[in-house]
Symmetry: none
Subunit: 196 residues, 4 copies
C-alpha cells in the first residue's frame, strides 16, 4: 500500500522503519520488498507518484485557451487546493524529497523543475504582445521566485488555517502578477529610490 506516504511524511525517511510502514499498510514486511523493492525504491516510488499527481493537478487547471493570467490563477488555485487536500503528499515532496542525498536525487526534485517550466512558459507568453517580449529562459528566475513564494505560503497556511486557498492564491497573483506587469511595461525599481 502506498499509504507509506503517510509514514514517511509523519516521521521522515530515516525515522520511518519498514516495520512501521508495513504495519500501517496492513501487510507484512516481505510484501513491501516483494512489491516495492528496497526502502530507497519505495521512497522514490512514493515521490514519483505524488509528484505526478501534483503536476497533473496543476497542469489540468492551466490548460485551455485562457489568457496567461487566468491560467496562472487557476494553476495557483489548484496548487493550493491540491496541497491542502494532500498534506502528507506535500510534506513528502517539499520537506523530504529536497533533503535526501541519494542516487536518485535527480528525480526527487524534477517535479519542481516542471512546475517552474510551466510558470516560466506562462510568463513568457504574457509578454508576447508587449513592448519587449522575452524568452522563456529569461523568465525562469521569476518563475522560481513565484514557485518559492507559493511553497512558502503553503507552509505558512498550515499554521494559519483561517485563510482560504483562493484567498492566498489571489494574494499571490496581486503581488506577483502586478509587479510582473509593471516590469513588462517598463516600470521598474532602481536601487536608490523606489516608487512607493
Amino acid at each position: 500500500m502506498d499509504a507509506a506516504v503517510e509514514v514517511f511524511a509523519a516521521h521522515g525517511f530515516h525515522q520511518a522503519s519498514m516495520d512501521e510502514i508495513s504495519d500501517t499498510a496492513g501487510v507484512s514486511k516481505p510484501m513491501l520488498y516483494a512489491y516495492l523493492g528496497s526502502k530507497d525504491e519505495l521512497f522514490l516510488a512514493c515521490v514519483r507518484r505524488e509528484a505526478a499527481q501534483l503536476i497533473a493537478a496543476i497542469s489540468g487547471a492551466t490548460g485551455g485557451d485562457l489568457s496567461p493570467d487566468e491560467q496562472l490563477w487557476h494553476g495557483l488555485r489548484s496548487f493550493f487546493a491540491h496541497v491542502s487536500e494532500n498534506r502528507a503528499s506535500w510534506t513528502l515532496l517539499h520537506r523530504l524529497a529536497n533533503t535526501r542525498e541519494n542516487p536518485y536525487s535527480g528525480e526527487m526534485t524534477e517535479w519542481r523543475e516542471q512546475a517552474v517550466e510551466l510558470i516560466a512558459g506562462l510568463l513568457a507568453q504574457a509578454t508576447t504582445g508587449a513592448a519587449q517580449p522575452v524568452q522563456t529562459d529569461q523568465m525562469r528566475p521569476f518563475a522560481v521566485a513565484l514557485a518559492g513564494a507559493s511553497e512558502s505560503l503553503v507552509d505558512w497556511w498550515s499554521l494559519h488555517p483561517d485563510h482560504t486557498a483562493d484567498g492566498l492564491a489571489k494574494r499571490l497573483m496581486n503581488l506577483v502578477w502586478m509587479g510582473f506587469g509593471d516590469l513588462v511595461e517598463g516600470r521598474s525599481w532602481e536601487p536608490s529610490g523606489g516608487r512607493p
Copy 2:
C-alpha cells in the same frame, strides 16, 4: 567545535555519524557529549548559531533610517551575500532543519518567523502614508511569500552561478515591490481579467 555544521551540511543529519563529527572537530566523542549533549542537541545548537548569524546579517543591513524599500533592498542583498558565503550554513538551515521531525522542531524554524516579522514590519511601514495603511499582521502573507521567493531563488542560484547576489536581489525587488506598490495604491488584480 561547531565545525559540525560542515559535516551535517555535507552528509545530512543521519548520515553524519558522531564519529565523523568528532574526528572533523579534532576532539573525542565524549567531549561532544560533555559539551553539547546528545546528537539532537548538537544539531539544534548548530541551527541556533547559524540562524542567529543569518538574522544578524540581515538585521544589520536593514537597520538605519533608510526608507522601507531601501531597507528591504539591503536586507535582500545581505541575505543573498551571506548565503553565498556560507553555503554549509544555508544547507543546514534550509535543507536539514526543515526536515527534522523532533521535539525541537519549533526552534528549528524560528529564524524563519523572525525574518518574516522583519519583512512584514517593513511592508507595513511602507504603507504608513498611503491611502489605506495596514497593520503588520496583515502583511504577513506577503512577507512569507517574499521570504519563500528569496529562499527559492537561492537554491536556483546554486545551479546557475552566473548570476550575482545583487542581480537576484534586484529582480526580487522589481517583482515584489512593484506589485506591492500597485496594491498599496489600489490597483489590484481580479480573477476574471487581469491587467497585462
Copy 3:
C-alpha cells in the same frame, strides 16, 4: 524433480533458495514440500540418490570373479569415470554433504563407509594366500587412505583436465597396490631408514 542436485551443486546448500530449486525443477514450491518435505530432507534425499548411484557404479565394476587387484582397478576406473560424468553429483557428495551439520549428518557420509568397506574387503581378500592373512577390519585404515587419495585426485583432476580417468586410476594402483604388496610380503618401512 531431483534436478535440485544441480542447484545445490551450483550454489551450495544455503545459497540455494527453495525458490530457485522449484523454478529450475519447473514445479511450484508447495510441491517441493509436499513431495520432499523440508529443505533438509530434500538435501538428504539428493545425497542418498547420488550416493546410491555412485556406489552402484563402483560395485557394478568390482563384481565378478576377477582377482582382487583387477577388481580394485575396475572400481577405481569406474569411480573416476562416474565422477567425471556427474560433476554436480560429486560436488554434492564431496563438497556439500561433508559440511552440513544437521541431524542427518550420519547418513550424509554413509556412502563413504560403504566404499571403504568395499575396498577393505578387496584388500583383505588379496592377503588370503599370503604369509600372514589379515582380517577386513585391519585393512580399514588402508582402505580409508585409498579412498581419500582417490577423492583428492578427483578434485585435483578438475583443475588439470589433461589427464584421463584411466591414467589417474593407474597411478593410484601403482602407488597403493605396489606398496600394499610389499607390505603383505613382509617388506616394510621403519622410521629410522627407509628403503629408497
Copy 4:
C-alpha cells in the same frame, strides 16, 4: 577473540551467527566488527591463521638435512599430531574452507596447494639418485594422493580414537613410500595382472 574458530567449526559458516560467536568470545558484537570486520572477513582471517599454523607445524618438522623419507615421515607425524590437538582448526580448514563459495575461495585452499608442493618436492628429491629422476611437477598427482590419504585418515581417526598419530603415519609411509619406491625402481603394476 579468534575462538570464533570453535563456533565456525561447530556449526558451519552459515549456521554460526555472529551473536553466538560474540557470546562465545566474551565480547559484544560491535567489537567483532571493529576488530575483524564482516563475517566473511572474520572467516577468512580464521582460515588464514589456522592454515598458517598447520603449514608451520608441518614445515617445521620437515626441515633439516634429513633424508626425504625421514622428512616425509616427520611431516606426516606432525600433521597428525597437530590436527589431533586442533580438532576445530582442522574442521574449519577441511570441512568448511573447501565448501565456501565466496570471493576469497582462492585463499581458502591455498594451504592445501602449499602442502602438496611440499610433498611433491620431497618425492622428487627422493628420485635424485635413481635410475630415472623425475621433475617436481610430475610428482604432483602422487603428492595430491598422499595428501588426500592423510586427510581422509584424519577424519577416520576421529571415529576410531584407539589409534595413535604415529601409528597412522607409519601406516601411510608403508603404503605410499614403499609403493613409491617400487615405482622409482621400475617395478610397476599393469592393468591385466598385478603382482600380489
